[in-house]
């Protein structure tokens, strides 16, 4: 029942908003309808048409909250006149809602919160838990986001790039306690996939998510420590996820309209394709980084490219490539020093590597990476074990 209600929520919300109900009022009415469903359905059983049931209850609630008799009659007429839309239209409604929640007038954090609430159907409390803020703060963030959308026409052409960026942000939030934002991001991205006419970047993003999520079982040890890619137990990777990701990527690439998500997914696929770290096809990865930088030149991508250069042309070439990126990165960027440590260690400069890892550890913005970098520095600084006579 929970899944059903979560699937239906955005559809019902979309119908209400499409009829001209302000976003905030529509959301309130939907919540009321969901509450009633929760309390009644277990006794009465699920109605034959749960979607229509929710729309009727939510509409009644809207009517109740409107004093004007005229507008009440007008709404009731509309309810009566409106034909039951087919499955495609229901999906279209959900998509229009998604585009609305990722509207350009919203800051990324607002769009993330509103999307999870309105399209994802998560409760405000769940979203607050995931982002570790008080529920009242998250409620306020969502409420402000809704207000910012006042006057934006429902169904107006949206910007797909903004939607994809919001979904990718949600994906990167990961797993927060009881809330799995990775699964949520993948589920929402799937909504955008159409059997025949998907935008290649939609499939590219889906592939990117699946190909990274496939490694999740090997990414952390039981004690929570982070395992870098070249030390992961690859037998624990999720092969079904990899297969689906590769298929999505191939379909995307066949359209011959390359984008940043496809290029990143291609890199992820090459890593996933290697049975051992030594079998990694670094020359191909390097050429994909060149493609990626040609599309979207970011310091983060250039930094990752330096790692690939180090694998293909040796650590000295990697370090030279790194020096070229350095001026573009903020001084506190820990990944710069992490990559430098890696390349210095490969070049045989243990001391320099330890210093770089230690510096990276002080600048890390998350605990798992900080601890990993600390262990790297400690490993290189440990006195050489004396061989017993």
């Amino acid at each position: 029942m929970e899944q059903l209600l979560r699937d239906l929520s955005p559809q019902v919300l979309a119908v209400l908003v499409r009829r001209g109900t302000p976003f905030a009022a529509a959301e309130d009415a939907l919540q009321e309808a969901l509450l009633q469903a929760w309390s009644r359905w277990p006794e009465t059983g699920e109605p034959d048409n749960p979607r229509a049931w929710l729309i009727t209850v939510a509409s009644r609630r809207l009517v109740d909250s409107t004093r004007s008799e005229v507008s009440r009659r007008r709404r009731e007429d509309l309810v009566a006149l409106e034909p039951e839309p087919g499955p495609t239209e229901q999906n279209d409604d959900t998509l229009r809602l998604l585009f609305l929640c990722c509207h350009e007038s919203l800051s990324p954090p607002s769009a993330v919160a509103l999307t999870l609430r309105a399209v994802g159907g998560l409760t405000t409390q769940q979203i607050a838990t995931a982002f570790m803020v008080p529920e009242s703060t998250m409620a306020q963030r969502i409420s402000r986001a809704k207000k910012s959308l006042t006057g934006v026409r429902f169904g107006a052409p949206g910007d797909l790039a903004l939607v994809l960026r919001v979904l990718y942000l949600i994906f990167n939030e990961g797993h927060r306690g009881s809330v799995d934002l990775v699964a949520e991001a993948i589920r929402l991205t799937r909504l955008l996939v159409r059997p025949s006419r998907s935008e290649p970047e939609v499939l590219g993003l889906l592939a990117l998510m699946l190909l990274h999520d496939a490694r999740r079982p090997a990414r952390y040890l039981a004690n929570g420590s982070l395992v870098p890619l070249d030390h992961q137990d690859r037998s624990r990777w999720n092969t079904a996820r990899i297969e689906e990701g590769v298929l999505a990527l191939q379909t995307a690439l066949a359209a011959d309209r390359l984008g940043e998500y496809q290029a990143q997914a291609a890199i992820a696929a090459l890593h996933d394709d290697a049975a051992t770290p030594e079998e990694t096809d670094w020359p191909q990865i390097l050429s994909w980084y060149d493609e990626l930088l040609a599309i979207h030149d970011t310091p983060a991508a250039a930094l990752s490219r330096a790692v690939a250069v180090g694998e293909v042309d040796g650590p000295q070439a990697g370090l030279a490539s790194l020096s070229a990126v350095e001026p573009r990165l903020p001084a506190w960027h820990h990944r710069l020093h992490a990559v430098r440590g890696h390349l210095l260690e490969r070049s045989g400069d243990k001391e320099g590597a330890a210093t770089a890892y230690a510096r990276a550890a002080t600048q890390a913005t998350n605990i798992a990476e900080r601890d990993h970098l600390t262990r790297q520095a400690a490993r290189l600084q440990a006195p050489p074990t004396t061989t017993p006579p």
Partner: protein, 138 residues
């Protein structure tokens, strides 16, 4: 989004503040205005959806440490750190950028002080570490 801890100190930060006058020596209405400002700032942060926590902590300091296996903890009430190094309280905010955290810190520092003049106190800005790296990072 990232969380930042904005730490308030009793007095100076990176430099001494010779003009610093303890609150106990302000006029009562200046004290009231200062406290009202703190409440107002917390409300503003709630309104903007950035509030996580705000606390004030007392200046009394005890130190405690492990006393050794089977031994009682070692506790001492001194020596006291210089008053300016003491943390007086904090705002914990969840914001879009470091720039925004700095902006809030500057606003906190503008709190009315003696004779209604801005306090100009230094606010220490520290980022809270996330638990995990992004899901796609390699």
């Amino acid at each position: 989004m990232a969380k930042y801890l904005l730490l308030k100190h009793y007095g100076h930060g990176p430099e001494r503040m010779p003009s610093h006058v303890p609150m106990t020596e302000w006029a009562p209405e200046d004290v009231d205005a200062h406290i009202a400002f703190q409440i107002q700032l917390a409300d503003e942060l709630r309104e903007s959806g950035e509030f996580v926590d705000a606390q004030a902590i007392g200046p009394e300091v005890s130190y405690a440490r492990f006393g050794g296996t089977g031994q009682a903890p070692v506790v001492t009430d001194g020596p006291y750190p210089e008053s300016g190094e003491l943390v007086a309280g904090w705002f914990l905010v969840d914001v879009e950028s470091r720039e925004r955290a700095v902006e809030i810190a500057a606003r906190a520092s503008s709190a009315p002080a003696k004779d209604g003049k801005p306090l100009f106190e230094w606010i220490e800005v520290r980022q809270i570490l996330e638990m995990d790296p992004p899901s796609a990072d390699a």
